[in-house]
């Protein structure tokens, strides 16, 4: 297999005395969709923030394309090709949809016209084509999530970090966006996604890491994770796996 795109080695992050992420290691191979799941408060978003440069790790190393990028500021990581979306959407509220995406497009294009062209292209790709001129603050939640995605895509990333892009969407909206994410992988963009919508995770992810209480407790293919006892216990409480097993036996 080719060299992994992203390597996280023994990364920790403390907030005062609280250890949010504890000695986490994971590797993300190029051209795959990797999912990061885990109960609330497991440290998933903190880990994302460290990979994208918004938080500095208390310890450990992060490598991107073989280079040590630990503690680099977000803008430099974005130039290297790491883009992220925010769990709580962060639109440029006063700007139009097209202008929002154009800000991302400017990363690789100085000229306004080129950036605008790319922005409109990406906007159509994520099905925002009809509302490119609308102010961003008039969008629905589904629209704003798409806008987050479009903006990140306009930076032409190699690695895309998606922080709960499906949260708050209804089932039909989820059905629309899932093939979009799969399409990104097919175009060669490596995706790491934090997601709670299991149906989507199971159908999209090539590999899953499970984070609980700041540690990686399991990793593997979706089918393996679904039956992993430690994972079930992390979500449902100690002894849950045994009780479930007993229920099946009865």
């Amino acid at each position: 297999m080719a060299e992994p795109l992203l390597v996280v080695r023994n990364v920790s992050r403390y907030f005062g005395g609280l250890c949010a992420v504890n000695q986490v290691s994971l590797t993300v191979p190029e051209g795959c969709i990797t999912a990061l799941i885990g109960p609330n408060g497991a440290g998933k978003t903190t880990l994302f923030a460290m990979i994208s440069g918004f938080l500095k790790p208390s310890g450990g190393i992060i490598q991107f394309r073989g280079e040590d990028v630990t503690g680099e500021p977000p803008y430099r990581l974005a130039r290297r090709g790491i883009a992220r979306t925010f769990q709580i959407v962060q639109p440029f509220a006063g700007l139009s949809v097209s202008d929002n995406i154009r800000i991302g497009a400017h990363l690789r294009h100085r000229s306004r016209d080129e950036a605008e062209k790319l922005a409109n292209e990406v906007g159509r790709e994520v099905n925002l084509g009809a509302i490119l001129d609308r102010p961003a603050d008039t969008l629905t939640i589904a629209g704003r999530k798409r806008l987050e995605l479009a903006r990140a895509l306009a930076t032409r990333p190699k690695l895309l970090l998606l922080d709960e892009v499906l949260a708050g969407l209804n089932p039909s909206e989820i059905r629309e966006i899932v093939p979009l994410i799969r399409g990104l992988r097919d175009r060669g963009i490596t995706v790491v996604m934090i997601e709670h919508v299991m149906q989507a995770v199971m159908s999209l992810a090539d590999r899953i890491f499970v984070l609980a209480e700041g540690r990686i407790i399991a990793e593997g293919k979706p089918s393996q994770i679904a039956t992993d006892l430690t994972v079930i216990e992390a979500y449902l409480g100690r002894g849950a796996a045994a009780r479930l097993g007993a229920g099946h036996a009865r």
């Binding site: 440029f92 800000i103 306009a154």
Partner: protein, 329 residues
């Protein structure tokens, strides 16, 4: 070139005023209004487009004014050179204050307070330092020659300040259309999101600060040439910090013509207030305060925003009526 057309039209119209109007009172009023507009144009780059509200643009205005005055009065340097060095001096002060405050991550009201503090420190230093003439101030020798950048006619001064305003308008327009400007606006709208999209927010804010400081400093340089006198209360006084931020806010924050519209409105009101109350000191500030409250309440996008809103509504009704006519036909 189409993007500069409105600027050309406005500047030509303004340039024609002294041809028609010969009253020194009116011209003097307009010169001061344009000077305040220029200071506001500087503030607008950083505050209007970048969302970084400075309460201390006097620091740049004053530096421009003092550098221009002191270089001429004490070192006999040519007025034009002194003027340019004054702008440069303002830019340097902007770079220093910007580096210190943006590097330490100051945002919002903390940034505003720090800029205010810097301006006040400069005012106090200027009021005691020998080089600035301390409490006495600095006088520039009267020398009504083009080489000394002094003119007998108010109209000539008017055209000089109008040229500076025009340059600032063009610079603002270029910023608006550039990648730098797009990133600056992104920072205003959402700094974290901008960072995630690869914007080096510290560098962009610093660039805006330097540009902003240079433009406001130019207003200070002009002040010296026009009045031939500065002291610490004029140069670094809070009056100019207030007017520099009031004019864009009232005129239309983050808009090309906002500071110009705002300056004319604010100055007109100020003059009216003074003529009605008979020069009671500080009363113009009371009027400004009331106007600010009214504008923020009723016209959050300022006068320029209101004009744009009316234009849009007219266009919509026109579209509706043409659509209706088409429907009848």
């Amino acid at each position: 070139m189409k993007v500069f057309a409105p600027i050309v039209v406005v500047v030509i119209l303004l340039a024609a005023i002294p041809v028609v109007v010969h009253s020194n009172v009116v011209l003097n009023f307009l010169v001061v209004a344009l000077m305040v507009a220029l200071a506001g144009q500087g503030w607008n780059i950083l505050g209007g487009y970048g969302g970084q509200y400075s309460f201390g643009h006097a620091a740049f205005f004053g530096t421009g004014a003092y550098v221009t005055a002191v270089l001429q009065a004490r070192y006999g340097i040519n007025a034009w050179t002194a003027f340019m060095l004054g702008i440069l001096g303002g830019a340097v002060v902007g770079a220093v204050i910007g580096t210190l405050s943006f590097r330490s991550g100051l945002r919002g009201s903390y940034f505003a307070l720090v800029t205010l503090a810097f301006a006040e420190v400069l005012r106090i230093v200027a009021s005691v330092a020998p080089i600035t003439g301390a409490g006495v101030g600095t006088l520039v020798r009267l020398d009504l020659r083009l080489a000394a950048l002094q003119f007998e006619s108010r109209a000539a001064f008017y055209w000089v300040i109008l040229t500076l305003v025009a340059v600032a308008l063009i610079v603002t327009r270029i910023v608006e259309r550039s990648r730098f400007g797009a990133w600056l606006i992104a920072i205003r709208e959402n700094e974290d999101a901008a960072m995630a999209l690869g914007v080096d927010t510290t560098a962009i804010k610093l660039g805006a600060m330097v540009m902003s400081a240079a433009i406001t400093a130019a207003a200070g340089c002009f002040y010296t040439q026009y009045f031939l006198f500065v002291d610490s209360g004029i140069a670094y006084g809070t009056w100019i910090s207030i007017e520099a931020l009031l004019t864009p806010i009232i005129g239309g924050i983050g808009t090309l013509f906002g500071p110009l519209l705002g300056a004319l409105a604010v100055r007109t009101l100020g003059e009216l207030a003074q003529s009605i109350t008979g020069d009671a000191p500080g009363l113009d500030l009371v009027v400004f305060g009331c106007v600010l409250v009214l504008v923020v309440w009723f016209l959050p996008r300022g006068l320029a925003g209101a004009v744009a809103g009316i234009a849009q509504r007219l266009r919509q009704t026109e579209r509706v009526s043409t659509a209706r006519e088409a429907g009848h036909g």
